[in-house]
């Protein structure tokens, strides 16, 4: 009975989309990197850096959209480091990625502490507000669910379409898919494998940083330690769940958002009978099950994790 009530409530569906938004950015970013053949485990740290950089830029007076640009730029910078280490130098993508995560996280915390040594509660900013769209926002059910989201949710949905279009409908996307599948094929056609891979990693990392920025600039209005809380890692799993397809990535992010929104509501209703940790755990357990079912048929980019060197075949 309670379950049905939750599933029919507007707030549940609204929350699903809201929780999914940073994941949509993250999963698209990770997907872009992997389509070009490079795993980017820096994602968790890039989320933190994006959250921190976006928030601080707004606090320093760059404005909300300026803040997003700064966040994307910082994400792209960490992406560039990862790209240099893994593409021309061909180092282990796992080790480099984990290093980026630790580095980006620590640098973000360090910057925060250096800029604000004294405060116990961080300053608040004026975040993105839900867009009030005339007529549409007043529709019953659909209005509150779809048309009372912030601009960043719309940006995330637009990015799904953009990434899909670029990958499937443009020569650039074809080249990215080729370097992720068989770099020799791209090289033989005179395309720059290094350039394409580095570019894809930078773009993907910028997207990841936007996911982080959503947390401080839309979901909340300030920066906290530990606020990313594993969202980056979830995106890595969601890419596999999505079989490296942007459309499926959206579905995966929404599914995870729904698990999360559902468990919060169920917890408040039957919380006393069941330990709270079970609920916290549920989205992750369900993700693993979903992964087991879907991922066995997943079509990997065949050159994923394999470094490529010019003139060596």
């Amino acid at each position: 009975m309670e379950v049905l009530q939750i599933l029919l409530s507007e707030s549940f569906w609204n929350a699903t989309l809201r929780i999914a938004t940073p994941l949509i950015f993250g999963v698209l970013g990770a997907l872009l990197c992997e389509k070009a053949g490079v795993l980017n485990l820096g994602i968790e740290g890039i989320f933190v850096a994006g959250a921190m950089a976006g928030w601080m830029a707004v606090w320093l007076g760059f404005g909300l959209w300026g803040g997003l640009l700064v966040a994307a730029g910082v994400g792209g910078f960490f992406g560039l480091i990862h790209a240099i280490l893994t593409v021309p130098l061909g180092l282990s993508q796992h080790v480099s990625g984990l290093g980026i995560t630790m580095f980006a996280t620590s640098v973000s915390y360090f910057t925060y502490r250096t800029a604000l040594p004294q405060v116990s509660s961080p300053p608040r900013i004026e975040p993105f507000r839900p867009l009030d769209i005339p007529i549409l926002s007043d529709l019953p059910f659909i209005g509150p669910v779809l048309f009372q989201q912030t601009a960043m949710t719309w940006l995330a949905l637009f990015m799904v379409a953009l990434v899909w279009w670029v990958l499937n409908r443009t020569p650039l996307g074809l080249a990215i898919r080729a370097v992720g599948d068989n770099p020799d094929a791209a090289d033989a056609q005179g395309l720059s494998v290094y350039g394409l891979r580095i570019g894809a990693i930078i773009a993907g990392s910028a997207l990841m940083a936007l996911g982080g920025a959503f947390l401080t600039m839309s979901a909340f209005d300030s920066f906290f330690f530990g606020m990313v809380n594993g969202r980056g890692w979830i995106c890595i799993a969601l890419v596999i769940f999505a079989s490296w397809r942007p459309g499926k990535a959206l579905i995966g992010a929404l599914l995870f958002g729904a698990f999360e929104a559902f468990q919060v509501r169920l917890q408040t209703q039957v919380g006393a009978a069941v330990p709270g940790q079970i609920f916290l755990m549920a989205p992750y357990v369900l993700s693993i099950f979903a992964l087991v079912i879907v991922a066995r048929r997943a079509e990997y980019p065949r050159a994923l994790l394999k470094p490529w060197f010019k003139g060596q075949r």
């Binding site: 599948d181 094929a185 033989a188």
Partner: protein
């Protein structure tokens, strides 16, 4: 065929470390011509073509290509894009196709400006269809390349080159992966293309094809151009002599008196899952100073025999003795210790560890040797010296002793294995298909080494599906059929052939 020049390679040289891959090679190509580039494995054919296509930068020399108007222009070296723009298309031995993309996408790849907002698939499809119509290179354009047959993939590769307006097409051993029917189709297609004015360089070491389909033949040996001949003036003997350097030396055979038995199989039975993996009450003796050849049609128990002697399987019944000692434990180390040297059938897979260096592969069967391992540590100095010496003695050519073994060509891998086996002075050498897939020079070298070991006093068990090889090398011939071993007692081809088919003679 018009005589206008379309390509000229002038004095190209390329070294890899100390190996000279190409030494001042000059080649000219004319419009509508099919030029065959012939040479043994490692003669430098592929290196030469990789320089033409910009994958390698030559150490010296220049390349000139005719532009669309027929005027010779120097080619920027080391840039695949420059070669593509100059109208050179290359079909590599290992295809450079992305399997997750469709055939059409693979053809389109790199042909458009990267930053245009969308593909112009319609125009591209039309152009590809026209090429297909003109040349007969049929391929399903909307299928993922991963689902295509090898022949279809090759056609996609050629289509790709033609789509990029190639006027010169390089085919690197195009028929190595094709069935005979597919190869015939390919040559028909090439014929149609050259009528259109396309020039083709065709790398091969199959003499029959070269004689049938090319106009002119250039032969490389040890990185040097050693001969050039119009196909009309050539025959197999002439070309073979150019490739190998002299008439194929007949392996000298002096008579040797067989000594004591080094390998005895006594009523050995191996119950395999099928014929391929079974032996039935097999008896066999190999003596010192003796080559025993096992002739037979593939899949009659040869692999069971090889695995038994290598120590990979145990017999279900019967006894085996090496040097008079009965074998109790059938494991590879036990066989090594008993004095058996093994030249495996699949040299790439079972003969070397591709990701380990040449030097390491050379000592991998001798890890217990105190010269190599002292107090648990590898003696690097000895290992290096050993590798240098063996590579010199056995003429193992490649990028060096510290390079991964996988980088060696097939013939050089086999020489590496020979070096490793013979250095242990084995009592018995198991040579399983020792020359399969090797070019003439390397095959002769293997044969020479085996006969040398015979003089030294080893017994040699030669398993081969090539009856000529068995006849040329063996002192005695056994025929294997259905897991039974029978003494041939003759060197008459016809009789042995009947026995291989299972007839009682």
């Amino acid at each position: 065929m018009s005589n206008s020049l379309v390509l000229s390679l002038n004095n190209l040289s390329k070294r890899f470390g100390t190996v000279v891959a190409n030494d001042t090679v000059s080649i000219e190509l004319h419009r509508g011509e099919v030029l065959s580039l012939l040479g043994e494995n490692g003669a430098g054919k592929t290196t030469l073509m990789n320089m033409l296509f910009g994958h390698y930068v030559p150490d010296s020399g220049t390349i000139e290509v005719a532009d669309a108007k027929g005027v010779m222009q120097p080619l920027t070296l080391g840039h695949p894009q420059a070669a593509l723009n100059a109208g050179i298309g290359m079909v590599h031995q290992h295809f450079t196709l992305a399997e997750n993309l469709t055939a059409l996408d693979n053809i389109l790849l790199g042909s458009e400006s990267l930053f245009s907002w969308r593909h112009n698939r319609k125009a591209a499809r039309k152009k590809v269809s026209e090429i297909i119509e003109r040349t007969g290179l049929a391929a399903p354009l909307d299928e993922k390349v991963g689902n295509l047959s090898v022949g279809e993939r090759q056609r996609v590769e050629i289509l790709k080159a033609l789509f990029h307006d190639a006027r010169i097409l390089v085919l690197d051993e195009p028929t190595a992966v094709l069935t005979p029917q597919e190869a015939d189709t390919l040559f028909e297609n090439i014929g149609a293309m050259t009528k259109d004015g396309l020039s083709v360089i065709f790398i091969s070491h199959k003499l029959r094809e070269v004689l049938a389909f090319s106009h002119r033949i250039v032969v490389l040996r040890h990185g040097k151009k050693v001969g050039e001949i119009a196909t009309a003036d050539a025959d197999e003997r002439v070309i073979a002599r150019m490739m190998v350097g002299a008439d194929t030396p007949t392996t000298p055979r002096d008579t040797q008196t067989p000594g004591a038995p080094v390998l005895e199989l006594d009523n050995i039975t191996v119950k395999g899952k099928n014929m391929r993996t079974s032996l039935r009450a097999a008896n066999l003796v190999v003596r010192a100073h003796e080559v025993v050849g096992i002739a037979g049609v593939s899949g009659n128990g040869q692999s069971a025999l090889a695995q038994l002697v290598s120590g990979l399987i145990s017999p279900d019944a019967g006894e085996m003795q090496v040097d008079g000692q009965q074998i109790l434990k059938f494991t590879p180390p036990a066989m090594l210790k008993a004095g058996i040297g093994r030249i495996p059938e699949d040299r790439h897979h079972d003969g070397v560890i591709g990701a380990m260096s040449v030097a390491e592969n050379l000592i991998i069967e001798r890890l217990q040797d105190p010269a190599i391992r002292k107090r648990g540590f590898l003696q690097q100095k000895y290992i290096q010296e050993n590798a240098k010496q063996l590579c010199k003695d056995y003429d193992v050519r490649g990028p060096g002793i510290d390079a991964d073994a996988r980088l060696l060509s097939g013939g050089n891998i086999q020489k590496l294995i020979l070096a490793r086996v013979f250095e242990c002075t084995p009592r018995l050498i198991l040579a399983n298909q020792p020359t399969r897939g090797l070019d003439l020079g390397a095959a002769n070298e293997v044969a020479r080494r085996l006969l040398e070991a015979r003089i030294r006093g080893a017994g040699i068990l030669l398993i081969s599906e090539d009856l000529d090889e068995v006849l040329a090398l063996s002192d005695r011939i056994m025929v294997i059929h259905d897991g039974h071993l029978v003494e041939a007692n003759t060197d008459d081809r016809e009789t042995i052939g009947l026995m291989m088919a299972g007839e009682q003679v």
